[in-house]
Symmetry: C2
Subunit: 424 residues, 2 copies
């Protein structure tokens, strides 16, 4: 690596990080992408891995492969421990790394509002490992229900699902579970009666998908209810224990409690020693830089910004990608000192899928629902997957899944791990 | 389940167990298949998952799905702890299970000749979890080599591979690693020089594939050497430690030591309290039953038999399948008391692949090698996969792999697990 060129270090290979690296491809800088995973994850479809519709390989791609064309880019598989902004150096789990420019795109994890002990009873969904664990948890509870179908209590516990959080992830998980539970997977469990399966979606607010228009929230609730999901609103979780969620609005028992409520930005940002919001996101300047450092940027859902249009930038992939390109341009054109044009988010809309042929989409004032929204959702996601060789595979998986109603990936990998789980 | 019908319990859902269940499909018995994994594994291709050519889902299928058509069959996901042959009952990790007939097909695991502490330094390859761990180990060492390419020692250690055991698995692994290391994966590691990669295949015998004809062993050695694999024979392993294998014929350092030597049948068989051979296999009667119990059978590579033709039945899938059908027929026709016709193994040949367009095959006296053997190998395995919906996917994966030389599944799932590994 010629040290004459400025070194741009990018932390995190999500949509933001990868887009930044790609935008810097043919510029006069050296790029280092560092991530603790070796793959980029197509998070919008993660819930389909968790519900055994897709395989991990269908929605993940090695970072090195994605960036293979970037001659000025080095990829490092390691964890960043802390950031020393004074001296422009990162402390890694193994060694140090200096930077001239730093783009932080570490993303966030699900959070338990300070009750981290809830995680073992109510796993969340952020990476492949989460998805595999959730999938195994679901499959194992079907196995237990089938095996103990005579034991009413066991049977009830293992045929109940409780999803906490009525945002897009919660809605998508509830819908997907309703479909696999009622249709696909049940074929393999003759002793389980579809009518016995209970799926509850709990949220503290008075409607689902609060970030969407009320009419879409209403549609989503009705659609989920038609699919057999019980939507329980105005219910704030007070505590989670093994097989039980306690809210201000009743208790809910299940051996499948899934957490889709609340995120917290990467703890790495705490080491920046700059102002964070309640969910750990960095309050960035209008140019995505941090207070007092025009060479350190935070993008994606690890940052918080009210943009030049006075709109809060949402924590979704399109926003991260726009921020990545904006910052890459600042760096490439060395706009480090002259006044910078503030970042403006171009709202390309947001969408959530509810189930087969059911989705909601919102593009600024425009609202779509049902099959049209679902077609939009499918198209957008296929286009998004364009960089993946897996695109074709994902489509064939979907087609197969559609035609046969058979889940594509009902595998439990780690009997060892899960034996332990059973004991604990 | 009507208890009037005799209950046949099958332990293990490998080729033997599944074939037995299928053969009993339309017979007047109740069948229970019990396995500690929820999936049947297509073991002959496991090494391709370990070397990131295929994804786990491509070679595994949920047992329930495979047996969905068997109306008289129940599938249980659990571990069998011990066998009480006097009272015809199995002790499970959770409960008991009575049987009228018992078919034991628990398979075997790689063994370390009593040195189980070697396993953490030299993992073996028997199930999906093994394959995922091996794949991650290989990928992580490439990452370390790339990251520390200036540190000669680190670099050398992480670009060396030592495979212990010159049987089919060892040969297949050596060949596959030579291909991914030299061609496919290297594309993603610009700082690693293909010439630096060292792959050693060690065996205690004076030739590879001892169960094959000498001419094929010779061909295999030459073919591997052409691919850059160093074949080291007459070298008995004396000890394995972290990153080093010590033999009577020199020491070999590598951060990728892979164990493909020696198997031991499932420890469950010890609880049978009947005669076992050195590698833990049950010495079965000519009808595959165990001494003194004409209702308990052991099939597949968990059993040892010199058949009616005076030939030792090999521990390969075709033999397990033939034994399964033979035993199923005994049970279905209630030949429990009248004299039974002894089992005869029909040799359909055995084959091992070395690499792209290179394989060896032997059908009784006939010997094949090179491209023809490889085509045979490919065809046979595709036909074997016929029960798998994955067949098409495997073929497309292969095609893709062939055309692009890009490994299809270079994913590291568990940063958590592997962080631990790194520490330990």
């Amino acid at each position: 690596m010629q040290l004459s060129k400025p070194r741009v270090v990018i932390v995190g290979a999500g949509f933001g990080g990868l887009s930044a690296a790609k935008a810097l491809k043919n510029t006069d800088v050296d790029v280092v992408v560092i991530d603790k995973n070796n793959h980029h994850l197509f998070q919008p479809l993660l819930y389909q891995v968790a519900t055994a519709a897709l395989s991990p390989g269908d929605i993940a791609q090695p970072i090195r492969t994605v960036l293979r064309g970037n001659k000025n880019t080095q990829v490092i598989l390691e964890e960043v421990i802390s950031i020393d902004k004074e001296n422009s150096v990162l402390k890694l789990s193994n060694g140090k790394l200096e930077f001239d420019y730093l783009i932080l795109a570490p993303g966030n994890r699900h959070s338990y509002f300070g009750n981290d002990d809830w995680e073992k009873y109510a796993p969340g969904l952020k990476d492949l490992n989460d998805a595999i664990i959730m999938r195994e948890k679901i499959l194992r509870s079907f196995e237990r229900a089938e095996r103990n179908y005579k034991n009413k209590e066991e049977y009830k516990l293992n045929t109940s699902f409780v999803i906490v959080g009525g945002g897009p992830t919660g809605v998508e998980l509830a819908g997907a579970i309703a479909e696999i539970a009622r249709k696909t997977i049940l074929k393999d469990y003759p002793l389980i009666n579809a009518k016995d399966i209970s799926i509850k979606l709990i949220d503290g607010a008075d409607r689902l998908l609060v970030q969407y228009d009320k009419s879409l929230s209403k549609y989503t609730k009705t659609a989920l209810e038609k699919m057999g999901v019980e939507v329980i609103l105005n219910s704030v979780v007070q505590s989670v224990d093994e097989n039980i969620v306690i809210t201000n609005n009743g208790e809910f028992e299940s051996s499948n409690i899934i957490w889709a409520a609340g995120n917290r930005a990467s703890p790495l940002l705490d080491t920046l020693d700059t102002e964070l919001d309640r969910s750990g996101r960095v309050l960035v300047n209008p140019d995505m830089s941090i207070e007092g450092y025009d060479n350190i940027f935070v993008i994606g859902d690890a940052s918080f910004l009210v943009d030049a249009n006075g709109k809060t930038v949402p924590g979704i992939a399109p926003a991260a990608i726009q921020q990545a390109r904006y910052v890459a341009d600042l760096i490439a054109s060395r706009k480090s000192l002259e006044p910078r044009k503030p970042f403006k988010y171009l709202d390309k809309g947001s969408m959530a899928t509810i189930g087969r042929a059911k989705a909601v989409a919102q593009v600024s004032k425009l609202k779509f629902k049902g099959f049209i929204a679902w077609m939009m959702w499918g198209l957008v996601h296929i286009m998004f997957l364009i960089d993946f060789r897996n695109r074709l595979k994902v489509m064939t998986e979907w087609l197969w899944y559609y035609v046969t109603f058979k889940p594509g990936a009902s595998l439990i990998f780690h009997n060892k791990t899960t034996e332990k789980e059973k004991v604990s």
